[in-house]
Amino acid sequence: MSPTPEIVFAGTNGGALTEIADYEAVGGFQALAKSRALTPDDVIAELNASNLRGRGGAFFPTGRKWSFVPKPDKIDKPHYLVINADESEPGTFKDREIMLRVPFRFLEGSLIAAHAIESKHIFIYIRGEYEVEFEVLVAALEQMRAKDLLGAVTIVVHRGAGAYICGEETALLESLEGRRGLPRTKPPFPAIAGLYASPTAVNNVESITSATTVMEIGGAEYAKLGVENSTGTRVFSLSGNVVNGGNYELPHGYPLRDLINELGGGIADGRSLKAVIPGGSSTVILTADEANTVTLDFDSLVGAGTAIGSAAVIALDDRCCMVQLAVRVSQFYEHESCGKCTPCRVGTKWLTSILQKIEDGRGTQADMNLLVSVAERINGKCLCPLGDSDAIAVMSYFDKFRDEFQAHIDEGGCPFHGESSLDHLLAPVAMHIALPEGKAIDGLINV
């Protein structure tokens, strides 16, 4: 299948549109003008017609999300638009490229969204590690202010500081409010009581940028792209053992096989495909066989027992030890667990320990059962999806590559004998270690 023309990256010609004049030259800000001429409800109707769905992971219809924000006369509080630019799901790097190459299209979308939900305050929560992207946005905003494009709307770019959990929308709001990024219980949902307990829409960078496109070409036109239930284009992040990693803007419904083999140039180093993680590290893994049959859209991936997630496709070749993969993925969730709820905080660490024991060759048959049991005890019990993701991802490796886990037990060690690509991969060294020893407190009566 050959890719259709880009719409999110339209006009870039492979480069970047970081000068406002260049963006205007390719029709920039016309969608905004068009939207502002419409009522908020009409903008939402256009979005609904497009059937644009959230690109952050949950695939929730964007227009509907906006329609949940109460009208200003219903609630006497300011409305907020918060844009999730925390992009931290392993495998995902699309929002970054959008901000770098089409910052104005993204910012234009944010103004359209603000108009739709009748908000005057936009916060862009960008992950702290994206320093260049932050600078590009700040520079773009300067140019827009100079042209008075913001109107009465204020846009604050707020930098995160390194915490994956802050991509979860309620944790993000907590963090933006100046608290530890701990997810909130829902309800209330952000649409009713989000930022500062006020009506808030939280949207992903790509969703917002696509909104510009929707308003540009019209909802009905947009809905013609892609497939049923998964309309429009999607920026897929391709990584792992492919020749050409990178972001590819493709219509939904594009075959996964083609992304890897044609656009991605196939598996590197003459190896063969073993498995694919289709939607970021939280999603269920696909075997090579499964990967060859699915298309990149919501229904096809759900049908295969997995999810489109953040559209981050990670291809693994035959050198990858699945137990090592499980260890590393579990280490990630353990490291990123916020520590609020018990099953996630304790369970992810325990899961890592069991996996590491198996990888080290010290595992027993009982540990295999324990692994399953602990994962089941995490899954569905946590406050937010982070802990569940660890259990779901790890269990999918176990279910689909059980022989490999069993081989670790039977051989008393890793069957790859040091040849796996993830061998001995070192997880992050914690920066803020627990206080090693007790501290002295003045006037203490010894306890």
Binding site: F93, V156, S175, S237, G240, H432
Partner: protein, 165 residues
């Protein structure tokens, strides 16, 4: 820069937000920048003072996030992403190359360098990602490391006579 101007600058940051508590992260980021890349005790006290918070509160915030540093760091911070996409592309070899080139273990700090591993930096398709003082280098391979280190040390880099295959 004097404490007074940190105070004033934090007031400016504060004014950007509907509620001043939101300023705590940017204020800590600023204080960290002013304190040589990490947050000594006094920085917490200054930020707390400027925002009518307690130092304990500021510590609870800073310690939640990986990018706030509670210990002194080297002048150059080298962070190697070792999440799966980079891992599949040889991140561990890149890390080990840094370790041997710098004579440090991951997690170590000298006046000159801090070397550590980090979770996904959001550059997976361009693996391996190495952040040098928060600027990302893409497609880093183990073989590139000696040149990078030499560049960071400001010394002349000479191509080895017989480069390894």
């Amino acid at each position: 820069m004097s404490t007074l101007s940190l105070y004033d600058e934090i007031q400016e940051i504060r004014a950007r937000y509907p509620e001043s508590l939101s300023a705590v992260m940017p204020a800590l980021q600023l204080a960290q920048e002013r304190s040589g890349g990490w947050l000594p005790e006094q920085a917490f006290r200054d930020v707390a003072d400027a925002l009518d918070l307690t130092p304990a509160y500021c510590l609870s915030i800073a310690s939640f996030y990986d990018m706030f540093r509670l210990e002194p760091i080297g002048e150059t911070v080298i962070e190697v992403c070792t999440n799966i996409s980079c891992g599949l592309k040889g991140a561990q070899q890149v890390l080990e190359a840094f370790e041997s080139e710098l004579g440090l273990k991951a997690g170590d700090t000298t006046d000159e360098f801090t070397l550590r591993t980090v979770e996904c930096l959001g550059g997976c398709g361009w693996a391996t990602i190495v952040a040098v003082n928060n600027r990302h280098r893409l497609h880093v391979q183990a073989g590139d490391v000696p040149r990078i280190v030499a560049e960071l040390r400001g010394s002349e880099w000479k191509e080895p006579d017989e480069p390894d295959a």
